[in-house]
Symmetry: C2
Subunit: 456 residues, 2 copies
Amino acid sequence: MVEKVINYLHENREKHLEKLNDFLSIPSVSTDSIHNNDVEQAAKFVADYLNELGFSSVEVMQTKKHPLVYGEWMEAGENAPTVLLYGHYDVQPADPYELWDSEPFKPEVRNGRLYARGSSDDKGQVFMHLAVFEAYIKTTGTLPLNVKVCIEGEEEIGSENLYEILEKQKEKFDADFAVISDSGMVDSGQPTILYGLKGFTGLEFTVKGPSRDLHSGIYGGAVRNPAMAMAHILSTLKNMDEVVTVDGFYDGVEELTSDERELIKNVPGEDFVNSTGIPETTPEQGYTAKEHTMARPTLEINGLYSGYQGEGTKTIIPSSATAKLTCRLVPGQNPTRIQELLVEHLEKNVPAGVTIDIKREPLSAKAYKVDPNHPLITKAAKSYSEAFGKETVYVRMGGSIPVVELIETIYNIPIVLLGFGTPDDRLHSPNESFPLESFDKGMETLVYYWNEVRSK
Amino acid sequence: MVEKVINYLHENREKHLEKLNDFLSIPSVSTDSIHNNDVEQAAKFVADYLNELGFSSVEVMQTKKHPLVYGEWMEAGENAPTVLLYGHYDVQPADPYELWDSEPFKPEVRNGRLYARGSSDDKGQVFMHLAVFEAYIKTTGTLPLNVKVCIEGEEEIGSENLYEILEKQKEKFDADFAVISDSGMVDSGQPTILYGLKGFTGLEFTVKGPSRDLHSGIYGGAVRNPAMAMAHILSTLKNMDEVVTVDGFYDGVEELTSDERELIKNVPGEDFVNSTGIPETTPEQGYTAKEHTMARPTLEINGLYSGYQGEGTKTIIPSSATAKLTCRLVPGQNPTRIQELLVEHLEKNVPAGVTIDIKREPLSAKAYKVDPNHPLITKAAKSYSEAFGKETVYVRMGGSIPVVELIETIYNIPIVLLGFGTPDDRLHSPNESFPLESFDKGMETLVYYWNEVRSK
Ligand SMILES: [Zn+2]
Ligand SMILES: [Zn+2]
């Protein structure tokens, strides 16, 4: 049966690519109200496609800003599981236009890649799902499982209204598990299971000294220099072995198992030295760089400033110094608690002669991780391998995907991240593209996967 | 005899104030070529005055920019010492004009103060010397000692051409000691001997990590954060007791004697907490704030920057971090050597994973200090006390006066700083003024002083 479905995709490849081109030609930029009409057109495109396929309850749900498209296929029966499919049809702005080699909203294929804004993030991947549904329905008359489709138009502006909708209409969107295709593989053609994301917290603090910048000749020796005080405070946060030295920071963090270390070892890692130009990597003591980036918490200074920043010399004692900090967290760390530990640590380490002013970052995210041995995951790995002809690797990632935390918080269901992007896709940048290999083999992966998970 | 001279000053006070007004009315702003003609007029004013008094060899010496006025009185005989009197007739720009309560180049007396650009810095103080010479010559027919007058027009733009002239015509300007009246007293009406100035050196360093800002989620844990590395490096420069922890920094620094500590204690010090808004002073361990500001070396961060400085959060690892450092030095510290020690210290403390780029500040200055018990100094103190009716205090200052180092380097003669400005004079700011009390009692001080030092 699966072969029929895949054959259908092969036979209709040109038609699908043309239809995808129509989708990508709509400049559905969510940040800019000048594109409000385009955003609506893109929503309509998705809803029309679902209607064509015979989905029920298809709806362009209005929000305070951009609509969310819903549709469901519940004909697989009670014994089949229900999946919530999440994606987004809005895109990042395309400027600066002059840096694009072809027009961002006139899709063009070059060297096996489809160039267009949204080709990878996320219209291309949303379209793959719809085309696979089409293939199943046209060849088998139904889908292997029940599907609830949720495609929003506000992902690139922070999913402002998504939480409210999912929370208020919990029943409507409820499912046995969720699938999100809005991420990537570690390398082109390398099947990748993303089974963990890091959480996030942060704050900004300002060390305050004199009420104005002072002449260093007159006041140097009487007045604590806020920039030096800040340096001392910052140096107490992390030691030179990259171990965070904030009390309680690692509490509840589960030690990496040898199984996981093995999984991480098998990921074809980026050559950090080569790609970033650093002299050498400096991971946390006792861990490899891959282990630290994927699976250990981090604390970074994102920016700092104090006093005179111009050319040459200005002999002042600055009146203040500011640092911005963020942490990437792992399962076991509560973002709010970590933020509180940081605040306590900072306040405890303020030297005499200065005061501190702390601004807590309001956004935070909990880390996400599924058991890599969960059947929904191992089946995904198997489907990937079958389609791409290559062993699947398992990765965790340092970033966060806010919608993952959102779905987990509201529904507490397994979330499977089936991403087909590649590191060369240039998301959010000029010349965004998506490999046609990902398009073809990604759809095959989805065909296998829906078949694999058809029974509860 | 001295009484006669002082009487002359009293009798001619109005005439002198009028003449000073003429001098102050010339907008001799040296930074702005639109005032080139005014600068020349001010030079001419000084030269004319010297000619009127019968000085010989009076000359408006042309330089690459603004002229220097020279004149000498060598009729005091071979047994009398020769003093080199330095001052400057150029002034800072007066803008923003709208912040002045009266016009900057239309002198006005209000509440016992003469308001005008240059009233304190330095035309007012230069004029006092000329008026005192007039009083001596008109009443006694000569001056008590031989005088070489050197009034430049480039002080406010860094004395660009002074070094070359003094160096090339060494004989012409040579003297037994120098007097400079271009500084102030610690308080209005408080006779002050400024017997020490600090030296100066500095550098800027940049900690370099990745070749571009990196996503903290993807690279955090593999890449050393340059801002954090910089914080660690900075924290090794000075401890929380405000002791500089750079090897060799204090080598050669003479310990404060109990005599000097007594002198410093007697200075009516600024209430640093009140005037700067800090919670408390934090001087070097073992010293008071006054001792540290006046007589101990300091190291300050003048500015630093790294990464994101805007509103909110940007989760990057910055590609670099930069800090600007300067030191104020005391006698016994060689600025070049201190700079070298700093460079060595920084290079030694660079952690793995980043590199460092150091820019040495080209300007430096050696500290200056005269023995407070030198007769030229004690006589100055006595003259001050006699004129102001108050015990003289002895201070050292954290700043540098470049011309002091210049004269010391070329001539290696004692330099006496006879300043009559006050902390309220607003030098270089709108509403510059000079107390008439300083005008009157300062001239009396000069009358006493020239009489005191008349014999070698
Ligand atoms: Zn996306
Ligand atoms: Zn001056």
